[in-house]
Amino acid sequence: MIEGEAWRRWVYFRIPLALFLIFLLFPFYWMVITTFRPDGELYRPWRAVNYTPFWTWNPTLDHIKYLFSETMFATWMWNTMFIALASTVISLFCGVLAGYALSRLNFPFAGSLGTGIFITYLVPQTLLFIPLSEIIRNYKLGDTPWSLILTYPTFLIPFCTWLMMGYFKAVPKELEECARIDGASRWQAMLYIIIPVAVPGILSAGIFAFTLSWNEFIYALVFLSSPEQKTVPVGVVSELIRGDVFFWGPLMAGALLGSIPVAIAYSFFVEHYVSGLTGSVKG
């Protein structure tokens, strides 16, 4: 907090913060306002006298209704949820175990293995989808949720592993040593002591993994083709942009509804997730 006279607080803290908030929240606001704006207002030329880009006097639910009646939006939501949850669970499981092993067990090449895992995270998905699509085709997984549930961990596991490695390193070694003297095996010490202590880290890794798979676009675009298999990001784009015609109302409604689960997940765990990122373990 900035100390001193009131004007200093305004100039150095409140006004910059407000500008920053406007900058961050404006796209979201635009999405909301477009969702509830009737088509007549949406496509009104900007020179028109009654042009009101930032507000509407005639809010409507038409675009949302359109989304649920004319497209398979509900199915896409369900697909996305299922795929994101399943790939998050798989990635968390692997990431927690790998992160623990790399940070706590002294085995040869642990350091270079950790770096190796990180490097795989750096390979761009826009390159990786080419060989992966070959694999998906060979295993006949194309156009099923499994094509995504099994490929998302390729970038989620390295991500979770690295986040958990950092977190486990911040957990005092003595906790585990004490548990082992108290009579716990290495496995029990991990299960009863280290993992419960690392819950904030696990939650933040989980939320990130969930968000990454929820928003993922390119694999979903390539591996899924039939409308009933699609996820929200791909479904909205492919079904609501026809040629060069953009159905802005339903598009924004889809984006708004699609962002709600992620927003809920964040707001629920925000405290855990902040302490997970700052890596604080209070003894």
């Binding site: 082992r180 108290d182 009579g183 003894g283």
Partner: protein
């Protein structure tokens, strides 16, 4: 309860030789303190007894069992860590019960033992709290409680008091001593604080550079240090040293440098006879120095210049310089001296120490 034998134990970390052949026999019920500066190998030695470090060479026995290959859980020991290592997600009760649960004690027995330990340590009102809601001293008590509920054969303490503030440290030191008198469990205690070592230990082990310098009862270490290192480490303020050359003087010996010339006390004349013409170190504790009143023979006094006088109430610590050496003398509180004043200090010849100039071993009569 059991004996602990550490026999010719070594520890190598890659190319660092941390513990270089430590041997120590710890008797049943004994409280042994390992003391030394950081990096002297004391904590590594303790961790090898605990089973948290592998033993490169040598053997550790608890009772009659060689425990080198036993995992920590099977050694029947309890350890208290410097940072307490309380499980932050568990209540105080669960922290203390964890070891018993892992060993499959029944619920009633766990409750009985935890309540009993909480009673002894005065933390009965905090059993339902989480560690973060406790003060430093209370956390330390929980860590102790977690150790005593298991009723292990050996307690291991790794600098348990160094995270507490000075006042609490003194208080907990007394409580630890009482606890040991009450339970009588064999204990190994690691600290870098020589006051803790002297006050707590039945025997004290002074370590340096991975080697034991001396093992003995606290007053033995204080009165008859084995070498210059132990002499300087034990005692506060530390022993004063002056590098001297031993020379023949009639039938006796003198120890001299360019600022002092003192007679070697009679009981040390014979053993120091072999050192004539060679360098040695003269050592004298601050409380064995006093301001000369003229009654002493001149061979037991030397001249010094007062630099600072520290009034402590019960005594005055005089920081003096005599030639190249700085010394501290603990003198009577009624003495009045000013900085810069020249004084004559007398030493108690029976309490003078001499150390070999090359090996630094004590020369004894």
């Amino acid at each position: 309860m059991a004996t602990v034998s550490i026999r010719e134990v070594h520890k190598h970390y890659d190319d660092f030789h941390a513990v270089k052949g430590v041997s120590l026999e710890i008797k049943d019920h004994e409280f042994v303190v390992l003391v030394g500066p950081s990096g002297c190998g004391k904590t590594t030695t303790l961790r090898m007894v605990a089973g948290l470090e592998t033993i490169t060479e040598g053997r550790v026995l608890i009772g009659d069992t060689v425990v080198n290959e036993l995992p920590p859980m099977d050694r029947d020991i309890a350890m208290v860590f410097q940072n307490y290592a309380l499980y932050p997600h568990m209540s105080v009760y669960d922290n203390m019960a964890f070891g018993l649960k892992m060993r499959k004690f029944d619920k009633a027995e766990i409750k009985r033992r935890v309540d009993n330990a909480a009673d002894i340590l005065g933390i009965k009102d905090h059993l339902h709290r989480k560690p973060r809601q406790l003060s430093g001293g209370q956390r330390q008590r929980v860590a102790l409680g977690r150790a005593i509920v298991r009723n292990p054969q050996v307690f291991l303490f790794d600098e348990p008091l160094s995270n507490l503030d000075a006042k609490l440290r003194v208080q907990m030191r007394v409580e630890l001593k009482k606890l040991h008198q009450r339970l009588g469990t064999t204990a190994i205690y690691v600290t870098h604080d020589q006051v803790e070592a002297m006050t707590l230990g039945d025997r004290v082990v002074v370590m340096k550079d991975g080697l034991i310098q001396q093992v003995g009862e606290p007053l033995d270490l204080y009165n008859t240090p084995a070498n210059k290192y132990v002499a300087g480490f034990i005692g506060s303020p530390a022993m004063n040293f002056a590098d001297v050359i031993i020379a023949q003087n009639g039938s006796g010996l003198v120890a001299a440098n360019n600022a002092i010339k003192i007679g070697v006390p009679e009981h040390l004349t014979a053993p120091l006879g072999a050192h004539v013409g060679m360098p040695a170190t003269f050592g004298i504790r601050p409380e064995d120095l006093r301001i000369a009143d003229g009654s002493e023979p001149s061979t037991q006094t030397f001249e010094a210049v007062v630099e600072v006088a520290e009034q402590l109430g019960s005594e005055i610590l005089l920081d003096v310089s005599c030639g190249p050496n700085s010394m501290v003398a603990s003198v009577d509180p009624t003495v009045r001296v000013k900085p810069g004043e020249k004084i004559r200090l007398a030493f108690n010849p029976k309490r003078a120490h001499f150390f070999d100039g090359t090996t630094e071993a004590a020369v004894r009569g």
